[in-house]
């Protein structure tokens, strides 16, 4: 009887979770997985105790023998876990975290605990227990649903690394047993069907199906809670009056995270259909307006240029100093920003973090790429949009810093990180996130990608770039696109907008930038003007290079030498300016190591520029992109003068 009831309840949950709509009228995703979690926070023991009913539907044509789940919290269980081995070690073992499973059954009550195997698909580290595999007693046939019930206890880690606690502050993410993604053959780069369920690495994020979440959280009364769900109800806890119970519903998101802290001040705002909630420390009230502005600008820009934000709710958190380890992280409908008390208005850092983390609602949340394997697809694409949004709303040259004495664009910040890096050529963008050599993950995933996307935009134009992303959203929203899927979209849209202008496809661009390790560097090597015997040249009027005005006698044979110093070959424009004011703009496919342009003109060349509008932002040195024999030294003199004054005042002020 008990078994029958369990099956009935489980079926009721699956049916309600996969079909019932509370937030949106229609399901946005396939809803391959769903979770119902009832959890209680113990702020003294720093634990979350919960029971979970979850399902996975086999929507493939494969017969699947096993299920695989992430136990992310076990990354904090041992100093020898893959997570801790790859980052700094926490010596105080009392603040280690873990997840303990006390029961694990199928809906029919079959005990799965004896069947649990810890697997280490990425590095074989025997001390890592962040992934479990369970051979099912009966294989899941196409269309079957595997329903599980798990009772667990999470001991939160005491040093917050995205998730954990500090004193009375809690940010709880990646906290429950979570299904991996079963990928059938043909999906992404799969040759044969199988689970994609990676270990927890310090340099990687996550990958999950869009799911439905019904979460009941029980927390002490004084705690203020924010989550990625929509609050359905709030009530006093029946057993204990000092606790309250909050019921949340979230639909079609890839993770359910939440935070609890008694010190939060709560603010709300509205952007069209979206109710925005901001939680931040009382002391930071002066940051509220700028934070809401950042979110609303992002919503407006991404809605216009990519696609709709489909949920009516959004929560974001600006954690207090003690919770700073949770800052700058994204969970689709909840994300964390980063600011501080009295952050000056000219530093747009809080806005930048907010724009970036909210941008992940699209590039990871809606377009749910595999962050383990293709980090450039979420971090890189998102950094590109972050820079565009920042520079669009906060100033083309002042997206990051806007001070009368110093300005910096967001796109400059990204490019400079890439250009500056001594490791910019050691690896390409196609690496798994945990395989990036030390110190290159952020530079490659975020900065290089953002820079080559800007370069792509420089080649295909801003409107076509927006068309690419609109199409990408249209085709891949609430699915799991792979790099090839994004490239296919680019090829199709570029073909549609430009025909064969860039060749049969634009794969060459991705071969050079995404899959290559070379650098791009074009240089104007030299130019010269040799005065000609006019009469002799006039005899050769069939020469197509002859550009002479009949009214003038001066004639110059002008030569320009262009070098390709880097390995990357990209088409560039070449602008030649003559002393009589006229200019010629030509295109160079950028393939040869050396290119000579010869022109007959009745005036001398004054200067030459490759890529005059700095569209090819992959170019690691803009300085050698132009050449004149009469350079403007005024700025250097001015900078030197100001530097002299600064030093004089400084030395005078620090001496008695």
């Amino acid at each position: 009887m008990k078994k029958t009831l369990l099956i009935i309840f489980s079926l009721m949950f699956i049916t309600s979770a996969s079909n019932a709509q509370i937030i949106n009228k229609e399901p946005l995703s396939q809803r391959i997985t769903g979770y119902r979690i009832d959890a209680k926070l113990d702020p003294v023991k720093k634990t979350v105790t919960g029971s979970m009913d979850a399902f996975w539907v086999n929507k493939t044509a494969d017969t699947v023998n096993d299920i695989q789940l992430h136990l992310y919290m076990n990354a904090f269980r041992s100093s020898k876990s893959t997570f801790y081995m790859g980052s700094y070690q926490v010596k105080d073992t009392t603040i280690y975290g873990r997840i303990d499973i006390s029961s694990f059954t199928l809906a029919d009550g079959t005990d799965l605990i004896p069947l649990i195997q810890y697997i280490r698909p990425d590095d074989g580290n025997p001390n890592d227990s962040t992934v479990v595999k369970i051979i099912l007693p009966e294989a899941a046939e196409p269309g079957d649903t595997v329903s599980i019930t798990v009772n667990f206890m999470v001991k939160l880690p005491g040093k917050i690394r995205r998730t954990g606690y500090n004193d009375d502050y809690f940010f709880v993410g990646q906290w429950f047993p979570k299904f991996g993604v079963y990928e059938p053959a043909g999906m992404r780069y799969r040759a044969a069907g199988g689970w994609n369920c990676h270990q927890f690495h310090p340099n990687s994020e996550f990958y999950a199906n869009h799911s439905v979440y019904d979460v009941i959280l029980t927390v002490p009364d004084e705690y203020i809670v924010g989550s990625g769900g929509m609050l359905i109800s709030e009530a006093d806890c029946g057993d204990d009056n000092s606790y309250k119970t909050l019921t949340y519903r979230a639909e079609d998101i890839v993770d359910f995270a939440w935070t609890a802290w008694p010190g939060y001040a709560v603010f709300t705002d509205q952007w069209r259909h979206v109710k925005i909630t901001l939680l931040l420390p009382e002391d930071r009230k002066e940051q509220v307006a700028r934070q809401f502005t950042a979110v609303k600008n992002t919503l407006e820009y991404l809605t216009g240029n990519v696609g709709t934000y489909p949920w009516p709710h959004l929560t974001f958190v600006d954690p207090p100093a003690k919770g700073s380890g949770a800052s700058g992280m994204e969970y689709t409908t909840i994300f964390t920003s980063m600011s501080s008390y009295k952050m000056p208005g000219f530093i747009h850092f809080p806005e930048m973090v907010t724009v970036h983390e909210f941008g992940h609602a699209y590039f990871m949340g809606i377009l749910a790429t595999n962050e383990f394997e293709d980090p450039w697809m979420d971090e890189g694409i998102n950094s590109f949009w972050e820079a565009r949004i920042m520079d669009h709303y906060w100033g083309e040259n002042s997206g990051m810093i806007d001070h009368p004495l110093f300005k910096m664009a967001d796109k400059t910040s990204a490019r400079s990180s890439y250009v500056y890096s001594p490791n910019r050529q050691v690896v390409s963008n196609k690496e798994n996130s945990w395989n990036y050599p030390l110190g290159t993950y952020s530079m490659m995933s975020y900065m290089k990608t953002s820079t080559w996307l800007y370069t792509l935009m420089g080649i295909i134009g801003e409107e076509t770039t927006n068309d690419v992303f609109r199409e990408y959203y249209k085709r891949w929203a609430f699915k799991h696109p792979a790099p090839k899927d994004f490239i296919d979209v680019v090829n199709d849209v570029v073909k549609k907008n430009y025909g064969d202008k860039f060749g049969p496809d634009i794969n060459w661009f991705f071969d050079e930038t995404l899959y290559g390790t070379g650098i791009c560097d074009y240089k104007v090597a030299a130019f010269n003007n040799i005065r000609q015997d006019t009469a002799k040249v006039r005899k050769n009027e069939a020469d197509t290079l002859l550009r002479i005005k009949p009214s003038t006698d001066s004639l110059y044979k002008c030569s320009v030498g262009l070098d390709r110093l880097g390995e990357v070959m990209l088409p560039v424009e070449v602008l030649i300016h003559f002393s009589d004011g006229h200019e010629t703009l030509s295109n160079w496919d950028g393939k040869d190591r050396f290119k000579k342009i010869e022109v007959l003109s009745n005036s001398e060349i004054q200067w030459v520029k490759i890529d005059p509008e700095y569209k090819i932002r992959m170019d690691v040195n803009f300085i050698n992109n132009s050449l004149t024999y009469e350079p403007d030294r005024v700025p250097v003199k001015r900078i030197t003068n100001k530097f002299i004054s600064f030093l004089q005042f400084f030395v005078s002020s620090v001496t008695l």
């Binding site: 004495l405 110093f406 050449l627 004149t628 030197t640 003068n641 004054s645 030093l647 620090v654």
Partner: protein, 302 residues
């Protein structure tokens, strides 16, 4: 009343010492040129015939400096040591030239002559250097104790308040500022005393400085506060204006150079005004003391 008398006398004496201030200005320009001219040479050579300087027309462009590559990184890396070297040179130069300046600022000083000025510079150099080093060392320790330490302690205390470190920083800095004025005053009194004495006795001078600072605190401290506040305000204004001024012609840049150097000359003048006012204050107080009772120690005579 004594304060305004000292300020007025200091101002008048500063005007008389304009040639000495000119030497300070020139010495400073020469010193910083040791760092600035190689930097200019590097920029000129690194930018070569590039037209990227277009991007520098409106001010500093981070992207351009980034593209200068490893040369620029090396330049930035060597900047702190270059700055330290400049500060050390500045201390030496200040110890030397202020010897002549304090001598010029004495009430009994005859008309400014280069010969007398440099003679006084040489005579006072070692004692002024020791005074400067001792007081600078005290100020450095105070900076750590009164400013850095409280902020570090509050930041580590995990009080939960976001504003506490900020408020602590403001209060700590204010405290350091006011306490540092006392030591600057001590240094100025000590140097004024040393300039008035033939024998080199830097420790007696510092002793005198402390004694006079605290015994005449009510007149000395407000005088110093006014003088330092004026200097700070002036420096702030200069940077606010110069920072925003981005001339884009050779003539404009030359004008910027002239005006910024005039500004620095004025800043040096304000510093000399401080020296002059403290010297005057010392003389006023010494005179009042003599009127009350004959001096006890020969060393403390003006």
């Amino acid at each position: 009343m004594k304060i305004f008398k000292a300020l007025a006398a200091g101002f008048y004496r500063t005007l008389k010492a304009w040639k000495g201030i000119l030497l300070i200005w020139f010495g400073s320009l020469l010193t910083v040129s040791l760092v600035a001219i190689p930097m200019k040479g590097f920029l000129k050579s690194a930018l070569g015939g590039s037209m990227i300087t277009e991007k520098l027309r409106d001010g500093i462009d981070f992207e351009v400096f980034g593209d200068l590559g490893s040369g620029f990184r090396n330049l930035i890396a060597s900047f702190p040591s270059g700055l330290l070297l400049l500060v050390l040179l500045g201390i030496l130069l200040n110890a030397f030239l202020s010897g002549g300046i304090f001598d010029t600022l004495k009430g009994s000083s005859p008309k400014f002559t280069g010969n007398d000025f440099f003679k006084a510079c040489a005579k006072n150099f070692w004692s002024f250097l020791v005074i400067s080093l001792i007081i600078s060392a005290i100020l450095s320790v105070l900076f750590i104790l009164l400013f850095i330490l409280p902020i570090a302690l509050v930041a580590q205390s995990d009080s939960g308040s976001e504003s506490a470190p900020y408020i602590t920083a403001v209060i700590s800095f204010a405290l350091f500022f006011f306490v540092s004025l006392i030591f600057i005053l001590t240094a100025d009194y000590a140097r004024a005393w040393q300039a008035a004495n033939d024998k080199s006795a830097c420790f007696s001078a510092i002793g005198y400085g402390f004694s006079r600072t605290f015994s005449k605190f009510l007149s000395s401290f407000p005088t110093m506060l006014i003088l330092v506040a004026v200097q700070m305000l002036f420096t702030f204004l200069v940077f606010a204006i110069m920072g925003r001024w981005t001339p884009d012609t050779g003539g404009g840049v030359f004008l910027l150079f002239i005006i910024s150097q005039i500004a620095f000359y004025t800043k040096s003048g304000l510093k000399v005004w401080r020296y002059g006012s403290v010297t005057s204050l010392k003389e006023i107080n010494d005179l009042m003391k003599e009127e009350v009772a004959p001096p006890v120690s020969q060393n403390f005579q003006a």
